[in-house]
Amino acid sequence: MIYQGKQKIWSEYQKEIPADGWFYVRSCIRQSFFPASEKYFLAVCRDLLGKDIYESEHHTTCGGIAYHCDTIPQETAMTIVARQFALMKEAGYKNLVTSCITSFGNYTEILETWREFPELEARIRENLWKATRREFDKPEYVAHASDLVYKFRGEIAEKAVNRLVDVETGRPLRIVEHIGCHYSKMFPHKGIGGAEYPYVLSGMVESWGGEVIDYPERRHCCGFGFRQYLVKANRGYSVSNTHKKFESMEPYHPDAIITNCPGCPYFLDRWQYVISEQTGKTYGSGGYGIPVLTYEELAGLVLGYDPWDLGLQMHQVAVEPLLDKMGVKYDPDAKYLGLNKKDILKPGLPSVLKCC
């Protein structure tokens, strides 16, 4: 009976994700800091799994960061999103997949608010018509890109070239997962596993052979805080929150961190560099940091893609300790080559954090 009870509870946290037919919208942060993650998400879905995912060149930001920095009115943010929905309708799609957790939260918040206040939806329709002469249908389903990778994690595992296992010892790699606040803290029923048992990343890690670490501050914010990072004077908030997480996960010796939101991997990567410069402390072994990857990057490594094609050279924390544990083959001399293998020099080295 108890088992059935748990099964029943768990079923409430599941999502029936449509298998195909998606209108894709990009992320301000992911394309700027992890450009190859977006490229490989589309490549895996389209070329490897044969899915129909369409991108219109006319789509834009959802305005989520400007909105959560309180710089635009709510109706402006809603009408920008309504325009994305109009582009989706014009392209003949009904399911929207977004590359960003802030966007996912924004789309979800807007649809839920319209459901509760239909007069507001009517006003946004009017706004959009006045501004652009466009009309929209609400999507039947809004997914975050990681929801699709989660859905297809088994297919990816079947095609795996590398697994999340230490090739020397056979030990499953210890992975910290960080799902990002706006994935399910605002609307828990919209995220796989909800806010209590988020499973979107854990499911990938388990399918690909790794072991998920549970640690006290697992659900704590990465520290982005919108204005708390974007304004230079406020970054103490941001690094302090990241520091709190790293102090909490350190005793569990993570081999890597996998992230959901496009901002979180940037902060969890870069603040390790800043903490090392400020305090001399590093969280990996041998003076390295803990590699922080997007779910697309981790999927790409599992599928055997070249780490430098996946953009892992754009990280400040060296990924080589993880590559070596997984047995991923790579050419160290090719890491920092530019377009057409052009020599574009190499980045400078941090004074504390060990890099390759």
Partner: protein
Amino acid sequence: MNYFEELSKDYRFKEGFHTCINCGTCTAVCPAAEFYKYDPRKIVSIVQTKDNDAIEKLLKSETIWYCGECMSCVTRCPRKNGPGLVIMALRDLSIRLGFFTESEKGRQIYPLTKALNGNVLGYGYCVHPATFSYADHPESGPVFEWVLDHKEDVYGRLGANYRGKGPGVLRKIPQEDLDELKAIYDVTGGTDRLELVEKYSRAKAEQMGMSIEEYTQYTFSHCSPGHFNGEE
């Protein structure tokens, strides 16, 4: 003006403000409260009193600007309040009334408004490498200094369509689409908001004896002591 009535018109307030039982769960889980002199329980409690003078003090205070809008409080409130949503409504009203220039953290709305909306209307995205400067972001590390010095090469090597035509990573957004975004700003109050922030910020800069360029840099980078827990 009756501030409570004004807040009650905001949909985020309608969603996020019900009856607060002052349990303090929001403060316990809040990443901002951990480091800043910030207590969302107290803020919701003050709003709940409907005391106009007390709410005006909030609208002019530092404290409403400490929240990171992570919405961790929304998950945990046993009464389905959203203190983070109440904060968004308070900030919106503070900006509309020009009260945001009364606090150091509130004045940061100016550089944020300029940078983010400049990106949205100029590049179609809130953040863009073309306007991301290493000097403003030394925490992005030597690796990103290298990326920014070799944008076309690094993004091109990774398959981006950097400032190119058609779809793809970091493509150039067609002018007709940027024009539509501007029209949306015009119709929905976004443009008015930008002008309002500009007007109040210029007046404050003059009052502080600064040019608008100096004010932008100062509000972006200066942090006075006293914001963090345990600081005098």
